[in-house]
């Protein structure tokens, strides 16, 4: 059995931060539909987005055997290689995200260039978010990755993490805390009609993620030899991290807290302890999820 | 990496300067001279140069590819018709590249400055010149001779070529010592006992594998080790297509894994299987009638438990069949053998039947596994006797010998021995051979065989006398002898010890002077005789690269240097003798150590390369052509030549060995006693006439079952260059080619049932303890091991030798454990052989 793991935690960090950047950008777009009161939220999100992706890329570059050759990926490409697509998708996305952030900060993001950048950026964000998953799922050699659930798991996790980081930053940096009114709106929604409800968004995303994860695990458990072997390997070697970190801390507890927060307008405000703690849990759990899947997925099943 | 065609002459000039100080080593390869000063940046294509690999005792003819003076690759010599067809060679040969260029090699002669000797003592070696070293050695010889005790010098021979005639043969005699002690008893002598006392052949057999229809392998593993590894691997696919293969071995070797039958015998019970198989063959009337003979009236009287009147049987080419039956075989049923050997009776019957039905193309292949046991002499005879029953001896598809090797001897040393030398040579050899309990009956003569491992006891007990000085070359008895700790004590006691070696081995750590040896594949002159595939061959070790360091050829250059020094100091006999060996082509007298080496080689091989001397086999136009080709092949074996007279006392293939009877009786007479007494002191159970026939003996084991629950089994590695390769990276990286073993580790293989009881899993660190020693290693749980046994490969557990072989060289920490520290120093005394098989010791396991 070859248990050499070529992609280590630096790759996890790249995928995680990249995912945060994607999630943050999509949050910024989504919140734009709900009006000016979310301006602050959107600024945070728009700035975090390219910063997170670039930080992730830095880790990736230094994970390369030949970091100085990173730039060659721009002019040497391979149409079949998902990683090659990723080069252009991430490059495009970073540029668009930077432009969008500038526009948002200057409050020019609604019309003209802003509209174009918004749509293009959104497309690239989804592209990058899916790319992370496809990077893994395009490997027939990796039984845990080579299926349709994996890109969904990664994409949804990215969106969750992106939102969580934005919420966390907003909660932690006093200048960015929204007013009590907007906070209540952001959290509780309901009476204000089209207000953006963080808890509801989280509940939907967390539910989808939990379902997908369990569907994935079940399919692996009842799958072919390789799938069964790899899943057993994951549970044997990363069992605690997986159940405790990825599932309970990263998905179940946040779901419970979000449901509670939905019902209690005060507790469920952005900036409240509950939502901040939930955001931290999502971030921790999201990282552990990606790390475990990455590590356990690279173990080759004995071929003979 | 930039490649520059560095002029290799630069390096060789440097070594040449150092070499010139002690006698001048002439570069063998003039071609190198062409390169000096050239600006050519191209990569050289290189050249394949012939030499010999001595990684195991197959002794293959090989070629080395030399590029810019560097050895880059090894392959078989395509001119070989025996072993190395199409340039094939086994994995060991490749490892030699990492040996010759090993940074842990000794560069220069060195001298010990710490007078205390011991495993944990730092010898505090300092480099000295060849001249200083040889001078001190010469002085020691002169001192011994002055005191009329030159016999207190011992020459220990390890891995050799046939130029041993100089250092091992002539030199000690000229000094005045009878003590040329070889290592042969550490390996094959018990096996040769089996074939000698049946068909009068004291030697390794060859086998006509291409024609055989059945092969029984007694502990032999031809795909991994001795004695025709590349040939066996080459033909084994065909052999298995055409023949059935049965392997008798307590562990699942590779040959056993591929065989039709695996008989995982309880260690030491091989004699039960052999006698039972003979019983089956006789009771079922399956013996080869034309070879052995038959009942006069054709009625088979071999029935279990019933004696037979010898008069009713007319023997043809064998002798003593009925007496053998009466004395031993009549009660040796497969059912009885099943109880003893742990092999189902139906399998014993099936193998015996199918073996005999394939007669005469059926081989019973004996190896050290079945013979190197305390009571293994008779098991060896029994296993080999099966060949007699099927008539495969000296026959097509059977077990054969070699052709005549057309070499000639060097001149006699007699005329050059002075009175001191003559007197010294009269002493009894120091290894106690021929003592009452060490008959060492090589070739029928009491005390003719070496008892290598006894040398340690001889030194410690000063019995027969004190040993004051020793030279050992290419040996490492402190590692390779059972009861290794005795050797440490013996070497601590030995006042002056010179070791000629390539690496800082365990034995070197006890030396007073260490001399760096030329590597036998790359850096020396020599020749060997071997055989396979019905072809006998002679191949030449040649210097294919400039030596890496300031080394000398052990067997010829070093004695020359000593001789020169002795002559300077007034004792000229040795040098006079050496100078009498002239170049057969030019008649020139040797003027330096290299020329001497060359002339000895040329002289001994002259019948081969000299067109003026008529010989069979390959023909050469002269010395130069022979050097270029590197190997002489004989004509294919002439079968059935021995049938008219095997050479035994009766001239027949002896089931009742008159030959052995004569040898034992003579030995008994020498000690004023009888054969029964000899049997007693040599630890055999047989009494009376049983001593003259192959028979079953109960295994002799050290340790009682209660305290030491497991029988210890050891085996060889297909990567061992006789335990010298453990310092090679590739050895460690590929160690798991030995079934059940692990990379970069030294494991004791344990059956899952036993492991479960002990609470052990693979990877646990354990200690193995025998009544005489203990080692530490790693546990490996594996099914290819008989429950009740622990199986461990030999070759690791070095606490010196180099930085890979040892776990920590500076701290003397071994990697794994040396089996010889567990094994007691016991012997198959009739042959003098050391014992390492037959489950000679029991062990217990402790988890660390």
């Amino acid at each position: 059995m070859n248990s050499f793991v070529p992609w280590d935690i630096r790759v996890t960090i790249d995928l995680f931060l990249g995912g945060v950047g994607v999630g943050a950008f999509l949050l910024a777009l989504f919140a734009a539909a709900f009006g000016e009161s979310y301006r602050l939220l959107r600024k945070t999100a728009a700035v975090i987005s390219p910063v997170a992706v670039c930080m992730g890329l830095l880790f990736l570059i230094f994970e390369l055997g030949r970091p100085e050759r990173f730039i060659t990926t721009l002019f040497r490409n391979n149409p079949a290689s998902v990683m090659s697509w990723g080069v252009y998708l991430q490059a495009g996305f970073v540029i668009l995200a930077v432009v969008y952030a500038v526009l948002v900060l200057q409050q020019k993001d609604e019309e003209g260039l802003g509209g174009l950048v918004k749509w293009l950026g959104g497309l690239f964000a989804v592209g990058v978010g899916l790319y992370h998953g496809f990077l893994l799922s395009s490997n027939a050699s990796a039984a845990l990755w080579n299926n349709g659930a994996l890109p969904v798991i990664f994409f949804v996790s990215s969106v969750l993490s992106g939102i969580a980081l934005v919420v966390l930053v907003n909660a932690v940096i006093p200048a960015h805390v929204t007013t009590a009114e907007t906070a209540a709106e952001t959290a509780a929604g309901g009476e204000t009609g089209s207000a953006f409800n963080l808890n509801l968004v989280n509940i939907i995303l967390l539910a989808v993620e939990l379902l997908t994860v369990f569907a994935w695990m079940f399919t692996m458990a009842r799958g072919n030899e390789n799938m069964v072997f790899n899943l057993q390997y994951l549970l044997a070697n990363y069992g605690t991290q997986w159940w405790l970190g990825a599932v309970v801390v990263g998905l179940v507890l946040p779901l419970v807290f979000s449901i509670y927060g939905l019902q209690s307008a005060k507790k469920g405000q952005v900036g409240s302890t509950l939502t901040t703690v939930t955001a931290v849990l999502i971030l921790i759990g999201g990282f552990v999820l990606k790390n475990v899947i990455l590590a356990a997925g690279q173990v080759n099943y004995p071929l003979f | 990496m930039k490649l520059s065609r560095r002029s290799f002459i630069k390096a060789s000039v440097a070594t040449g300067v150092i070499a010139a100080g002690a006698g001048g080593t002439k570069p063998m390869l003039q071609a190198l001279a062409e390169n000096s000063g050239k600006e050519n940046k191209q990569v050289s294509e290189g050249e394949w140069r012939p030499t010999v690999c001595q990684g195991c005792t197959t002794w293959c003819a090989v070629q080395v590819k030399v590029v810019n003076g560097r050895a880059v690759k090894v392959r078989g010599n395509p001119h070989s018709k025996a072993n190395n067809h199409d340039g094939k060679v086994c994995p060991r040969a490749h490892l030699s590249l990492q040996q010759v260029y090993d940074p842990d090699r000794i560069k220069t002669p060195m001298k010990r400055t710490n007078p205390k000797k011991g495993r944990n003592e730092d010898p505090q070696f300092v480099p000295i010149t060849w001249d200083e070293a040889i001078d001190e050695i010469a002085e020691k010889f002169l001192e011994l001779r002055k005191n009329n005790e030159p016999h207190k010098f011992v020459l220990m021979r390890g891995r050799y070529t046939y130029l041993r005639e100089i250092l091992y043969g002539a030199f000690p005699k000229l000094i005045g010592s009878p003590n040329s002690i070889s290592h042969s008893a550490l390996c094959a002598e018990a096996e040769k006992f089996g074939s000698y006392y049946t068909e009068h052949y004291w030697g390794y057999r060859d086998y006509d594998l291409r024609n055989t229809r059945y092969v029984i392998l007694w502990g032999a593993d031809p795909l991994a080790s001795n004695r025709q590894v590349p040939h066996a691997m080459n033909v084994w696919g065909e052999v298995m297509d055409r023949a059935k293969v049965a392997v008798i071995d307590p562990r699942l070797s590779v040959t056993a894994a591929k065989a039709d039958e695996w008989l995982p015998v309880i260690p030491g019970e091989d004699g039960a299987l052999a006698t039972a198989m003979a019983h089956v063959i006789l009771t079922e009337g399956l013996w080869n009638k034309s070879f052995v003979g038959d009942f006069v009236d054709g009625v088979n009287r071999f029935k279990q438990g019933e004696t037979v009147d010898p008069e009713t049987f007319q023997e043809n080419l064998t002798y003593g069949l009925v007496r053998w039956w009466n004395l031993e075989l009549k009660d040796r049923t497969p059912q009885w053998a099943e109880q003893k050997a742990g092999i189902p009776a139906e399998q014993i019957i099936r193998v015996a039947r199918e073996f005999a039905e394939a007669a005469p193309k059926a081989i019973s292949w004996l190896s050290p596994g079945t013979s190197m046991q305390v009571r293994g002499g008779y098991a060896a005879m029994a296993a080999h006797a099966l060949n007699g029953l099927v008539g495969s001896v000296d026959n097509v598809g059977g077990t054969i010998r070699s052709a005549k090797y057309p070499t000639q001897a060097i001149p006699s040393v007699e005329p050059f021995m002075d009175d001191i030398a003559k007197a010294g040579n009269k002493h009894h050899k120091v290894d106690q051979r021929g003592y009452k309990e060490f008959p060492a009956l090589k070739k029928g003569k009491s005390g003719k065989g070496v008892v290598t491992n006894r040398l340690a006891d001889a030194i410690l007990d000063e019995d027969p006398y004190e040993v004051k000085m020793a030279i050992g070359y290419w040996n490492n008895f402190t590692f390779s002898c059972a009861g290794a700790s005795r050797w440490e004590k013996a070497l601590e006691k030995l006042p002056f010890f010179v070791h000629i070696t390539t690496h800082p081995s365990e034995m070197a750590m006890f030396a007073d002077i260490v001399l760096p040896a030329a590597h036998h594949l790359y850096e020396r002159l020599g020749y060997i005789e071997s055989k396979a595939n019905t072809i006998s061959y002679i191949a030449m070790n040649q210097r294919v690269i400039e030596p890496v360091w300031d080394v000398r050829i052990d067997e010829t250059e070093i004695p020359w240097m000593i001789a020169e020094k002795l002559a300077e100091k007034g004792f000229t006999n040795v040098l006079d003798y050496f100078k009498s060996i002239k170049d057969p082509e030019t008649g020139k007298t040797p003027t330096n150590s290299w020329e001497f080496s060359e002339y000895v080689l040329k002289t001994m091989t002259q019948p081969i390369w000299d067109p003026a001397i008529k010989t069979e086999g390959d023909q050469f136009s002269g010395w130069e052509e022979f050097k270029k080709v590197g190997i002489w092949n004989s004509e294919p074996y002439k079968f059935r030549n021995k049938w008219k007279d095997f050479g035994t006392k009766t001239g027949k293939f002896e089931f009742y060995s008159e030959t052995l009877k004569a040898a034992l009786e003579h030995h008994a007479e020498k000690h004023n006693t009888n054969v029964d007494d000899i049997m007693k002191v040599t630890k055999y159970q047989a009494r009376g006439e049983l001593a003259f026939v192959p028979h079953y003996e109960e295994p002799f084991r050290w340790g009682d079952e209660k305290e030491y629950p497991f029988i210890f089994v050891e085996h060889r590695s297909r990567l061992n260059r006789e335990a010298r390769s453990a310092n090679c990276q590739w050895y460690q990286e590929f160690k798991d080619v030995d079934p059940g073993d692990e990379r970069w580790d030294d494991v004791a293989k344990i059956n899952p049932v036993d492991a479960g009881k002990l609470g052990l899993k693979t990877g646990d660190k354990i200690r193995l303890k025998s009544p005489t020693g203990e080692i530490e290693c790693t546990a490996k749980v594996w099914e290819g091991v008989r429950p009740g046994t622990i199986v461990k490969c030999y070759g690791q557990g070095h606490w010196a030798y180099g930085r890979i072989a040892a776990k920590d060289f500076k701290k003397r920490m071994p990697r794994g454990g040396n089996n010889n520290e567990l094994l007691p120093a016991d012997y198959e005394r009739l042959s003098g052989s050391t014992v390492r098989h037959g489950g000679v010791t029991r062990v217990k396991v402790e988890k660390l």
């Binding site: 050499f4 070529p6 992609w7 994970e63 390369l64 055997g65 030949r66 050759r69 990173f70 060659t72 040497r76 490409n77 391979n78 990683m83 090659s84 395009s138 490997n139 027939a140 990796a142 080759n300 004995p302 003979f304 | 990496m1 560095r6 590029v67 810019n68 560097r70 880059v72 690759k73 094939k88 060679v89 994995p91 490749h94 940074p103 842990d104 000794i106 220069t108 060195m110 795909l223 691997m233 080459n234 084994w236 696919g237 298995m240 297509d241 590779v254 894994a257 995982p264 890496v548 297909r718 990276q729 590739w730 990286e733 899952p752 049932v753 099914e783 290819g784 008989r786 429950p787 060289f809």
Partner: protein
């Protein structure tokens, strides 16, 4: 254009590892990396034990996942059906290592052949060091094989991957790969799948065969016939 493949006859294979060692020699492969390797397995319970051994190497797949994964085209197929690597383009991202189901691609995490740069001596002034040996011969290490450099880096640098190239440098000169050459039992046969008269095709027509990881869709070209 030829489509090179290899057939390995497990009946002839003696499990000796000479192929794997010889490959290390031919291609100057560093410690810890294996271009040619093997898998062994032991099944059953004593005394009914079956030990099997199969030699492995890069399968030079027709649908090579490593080639598909490489973002810069360093891993590529050549016109002879071989999967080759260009160390001058390789960025060391290891996507190929991840994509490869056979585990035959290795990454040079450290500078290779560190043993030959090491200054340690077993016994000072008496024995040598890896570094001294390397310096004496002005090549990366004393038994360095320059033939490898004819078509590929003689020794690959830190930070790039490496794997079996089916000895493309030998094939160019009409020789067989060194593992094939060095196999003492003649178990390995190299040849062109597109040549109906080649030895490989004769064997594949004569015997039933299996390949490793057929379910991965790689269309590997190392075929195993008969049994160990």
């Amino acid at each position: 254009m030829p489509n090179y493949a290899m057939v390995i006859d497990l009946h002839k294979c003696a499990g000796c590892g000479a192929c794997a060692i010889a490959c290390k020699n031919e291609n100057n492969v560093p410690e810890g990396i294996y271009w040619a390797n093997y898998i062994h397995r032991t099944r059953g319970k004593f005394p009914n034990v079956r030990y099997e051994f199969i030699p492995t190497l890069c399968n030079h797949c027709e649908e090579a996942p490593c080639v598909k994964a490489c973002p810069v085209g360093a891993m590529h197929k050549d016109e002879n059906g071989l999967t080759l690597h260009d160390p001058s383009k390789c960025i060391g991202c290891k996507a190929c290592v991840v994509a490869d189901p056979y585990g035959v691609i290795y990454f040079n995490e450290e500078k290779p052949h560190e043993f030959w740069y090491d200054k340690e001596e077993a016994i000072e002034k008496i024995t040598s060091s890896g570094q001294e040996m390397g310096k004496n011969y002005d090549v990366p290490f004393p038994y360095y094989n320059p033939d490898r450099a004819k078509t590929y880096a003689g020794v690959r640098p830190k930070g790039v991957v490496e794997k079996c190239t089916m000895c493309d440098h030998r094939i160019k000169e009409g020789k067989v790969p060194y593992c094939v050459y060095s196999c003492p039992s003649g178990a390995r046969v190299f040849g062109d799948l597109d040549d109906p008269n080649s030895e490989v095709n004769k064997l594949l027509n004569q015997y039933s065969y299996f390949r490793l990881g057929e379910n991965f869709g790689t269309k590997p070209k190392v075929f195993y016939i008969r049994e160990f």
